[in-house]
């Protein structure tokens, strides 16, 4: 029986790019590239540890940009952020086709790996877009705008530029509570740091007023004779509701 080969990497984007470099230069054909902290390789497969190497990662990064396209670079980064177990191997196989076809790779929609990469990319892009709308900031006593979110994919860093452009003159924090990380913005720049859920969040007094107004507005907007909850749930999946102010209406009162 031919045993399968699994690559294990540290979960960083550089680590993943290093894995791509390895596969190319060791002329190996791993059947999975997985994050050691999350997935466990199959018993039947042999494993190889990939040690993140900034230099190798950088060379792959530049090769993708030069030989394929900037869009391909973005695509693999999004796939990586998806955090899906198969994301590593999709990145490798997509790049293999990409190095052969160049920038045209993204037009080859009928190719199974290209299609998979597009689907995963779209999932992340979709979530980023949705979150841009579904995030709710609450104003804290200190004046900072704080928002807690629980996205399926790791999208806060993708959202940061959007909010930096939108609210350049406010302090704000975007907190991915599940992953324990947050974007902090200080009216100039943003950084991603670890952040556990803060225990005592004190809201500014005015906060309640505007929440009440938003709920009232929301309630008065639906047209009863056109009610269509299944459409609503398709547009705004229920799993996102818990962080929405307007969706708490029935629950809290």
């Amino acid at each position: 029986m031919i045993s399968k080969l699994s690559y294990l990497y540290d979960g960083s984007f550089e680590g993943l790019l290093t894995a791509v470099w390895e596969a190319y230069y060791a002329k190996e054909d791993p059947s999975e590239i997985i994050w050691e902290g999350v997935s466990h390789p199959n018993l039947l497969s042999s494993t190889k540890m990939i040690y993140t190497d900034a230099n190798k990662a950088d060379r792959v990064y530049r090769a993708v940009e030069e030989k394929i396209s900037h869009a391909a670079l973005r695509r693999i980064f999004y796939i990586y952020l998806s955090g899906e177990p198969e994301s590593g191997i999709i990145v490798l196989n997509y790049l293999r086709i990409g190095f052969r076809l160049g920038a045209a790779v993204d037009d080859y929609h009928a190719e199974p790996t290209v299609l998979k990469s597009e689907k995963l990319y779209n999932k992340v892009a979709m979530e980023k877009h949705r979150q841009a709308g579904l995030i709710r900031f609450k104003r804290l006593e200190s004046g900072v705008f704080y928002s807690k979110i629980d996205p399926d994919h790791n999208v806060i860093a993708l959202l940061a530029p959007h909010f930096a452009a939108r609210m350049p003159s406010e302090y704000w924090i975007l907190h991915d509570a599940g992953r324990g990380i947050a974007v902090f913005y200080d009216k100039n720049d943003w950084v991603v740091r670890n952040l556990e859920t803060p225990e005592d969040i004190v809201l500014k007094e005015e906060e309640e007023t505007y929440q009440e107004m938003w709920k009232a507005y929301y309630r008065h907007l639906s047209i009863e004779s056109r009610k269509n909850m299944s459409l609503k749930k398709r547009m705004m999946p229920v799993r996102y509701w818990k962080n929405l102010i307007e969706e708490g209406i029935e629950l809290w009162s």
Binding site: Y108, W214, Y218
Partner: protein, 427 residues
């Protein structure tokens, strides 16, 4: 009355206005400012009826001096009235925006005291937002028919989008149901806005910093089903508005029976399917290269409620089908039921690499259940044997009869995400 209570009344009064798209304007934020208008609309929430909420859509006031028969706010109707002060509107907008509840403001109003007075109040609000609060988010303003052109110009220099509602598709309809409004009071401002936009575009060619005038263009809305006007008349009107007035969008709003005026049709629920058909046809005009005379005619003035307009067209032109997927031109691909703009583009780019078969088409997003009657793939036809329209029709309807047409509405990335109503796009 406090602002919360006013908000309740004035949101309620604005909810039947469907045109809430926030797309089409790119307003960069300035230093020290708040907000930007992005070209891609962002939905912040969805109502129970499945509409996207992206803007704070309110009336400034619902105290109207006019008495339009189809309108809840008509002066003869007995209901609670409220009017916001300019400060209140600006404050709510800014605070909603900072909490990321909304992308901007969509402001309309009943006619308070006079058209001019109403426009003046609007301008107060816009000044507060733009000049005092430095707000660069999106603002869509409803122009009040009958207001002075100077006021219109002033407002247009602050707003991203302006619209004048057509309300009813014909002058007769207007005379009967909204006797205080005149068609030329609607088309006049529409033309003024168009001229203002053209002029500002010209000026900006010479002076790059000269102010933008309604950069996101103008839209309009009309009510479907309050008068006897046919779909053909409505579609012709829209086509004219797109061509002659360069409107960005025409919105169709199924008539919601809010009063029992004897002039109004007696219906128990709004004609939603008809509204949907008009949106689909509108899409076909704007993105699929159809013109209104291909879709309807004096002899066939209304849409088939069971079949979407594109399918209906294909069946009436069955001699043009089936077409070969690997060879057909882009504009013909677009005319195949089951193929949307995005899948047509993907077909064209993918067939550079290989000949496509049915499996590939499925992957590219083609709805084969529909398309199979009208296409061949590498010469193979997998629809039904006879190319008789009645038979194809029966088969297609057999497939879709289980579904409520309202449930068909699909969220399609290609329409731009989440603008305005979620309607079933013509694929």
């Amino acid at each position: 009355m406090d602002a919360l209570r006013k908000l309740e009344i004035l949101a309620d009064a604005a909810k039947y206005d469907v045109s809430c798209s926030s797309s089409g304007s790119n307003r960069q934020n300035k230093k020290g400012g708040l907000g930007n208008a992005s070209a891609a609309g962002i939905c912040h929430s969805w109502t129970d009826d499945g509409r996207c909420i992206s803007l704070l859509k309110i009336l400034m006031s619902n105290s109207c001096i006019y008495d339009c028969a189809y309108c809840v706010n008509r002066s003869s109707n007995d209901l609670p009235r409220a009017t916001f002060t300019p400060e209140e509107v600006a404050d709510i907008t800014i605070n909603f925006y900072k909490r990321n509840y909304i992308e901007g403001l969509f402001l309309s109003s009943a006619v308070v005291k006079s058209p001019d007075h109403t426009m003046e109040q609007f301008i107060e609000i816009l000044k507060k937002l733009r000049d005092v609060e430095n707000f660069n988010g999106y603002i869509h303003l409803k122009a009040i028919p009958g207001a002075d052109k100077k006021l219109l110009d002033k407002a247009g220099s602050y707003a991203d989008r302006m619209s004048v509602n057509i309300e009813l598709p014909t002058e007769d309809g207007l005379r009967m149901l909204a006797p205080q409004k005149k068609q030329n009071e609607i088309l006049g401002p529409m033309n003024d806005i168009k001229q203002g936009m053209l002029q500002s575009i010209e000026e900006r060619k010479i002076f790059r910093n000269s102010p933008k005038f309604v950069p996101a263009g103008q839209t309009t809305q009309l009510i479907v089903g309050a008068t006897k006007d046919s779909d053909y008349r409505i579609l012709k009107l829209s086509e004219g508005l797109y061509n002659d007035f360069q409107l960005k969008r025409v919105y169709y709003s199924a008539f919601v029976p809010v009063s029992t005026n004897p002039l109004l049709p007696r219906i128990s629920s709004p004609p939603l399917v008809r509204e949907n058909r008009l949106y689909q046809a509108d899409w076909l005009l704007r993105f699929y290269g159809f013109n209104s005379d291909e879709l309807l005619s004096e002899d066939k003035p209304d849409f088939d409620l069971l079949l979407d307009p594109k399918c209906d067209w294909a069946l009436r032109n069955i001699d043009k089908f089936p077409i070969e997927i690997n060879r057909a031109e882009y504009h013909m691909l677009l005319r195949v039921p089951g193929i949307g703009v995005k899948s047509a583009q993907r077909i064209v780019s993918s067939r550079r690499f290989c000949q496509l078969d049915f499996d590939d088409l499925k992957k590219l997003g083609v709805v084969l259940k529909r398309a199979k009657y009208f296409i061949t793939c590498k010469g193979i036809h997998s629809g039904i044997k006879s190319m008789e329209p009645v038979n194809i029709r029966a088969n297609i309807l057999g497939d879709s009869s289980k579904k409520d047409p309202r449930q068909l509405s699909l969220f399609d990335l290609e329409g731009g995400m989440g603008n305005d109503l979620k309607i079933e796009l013509p694929v």
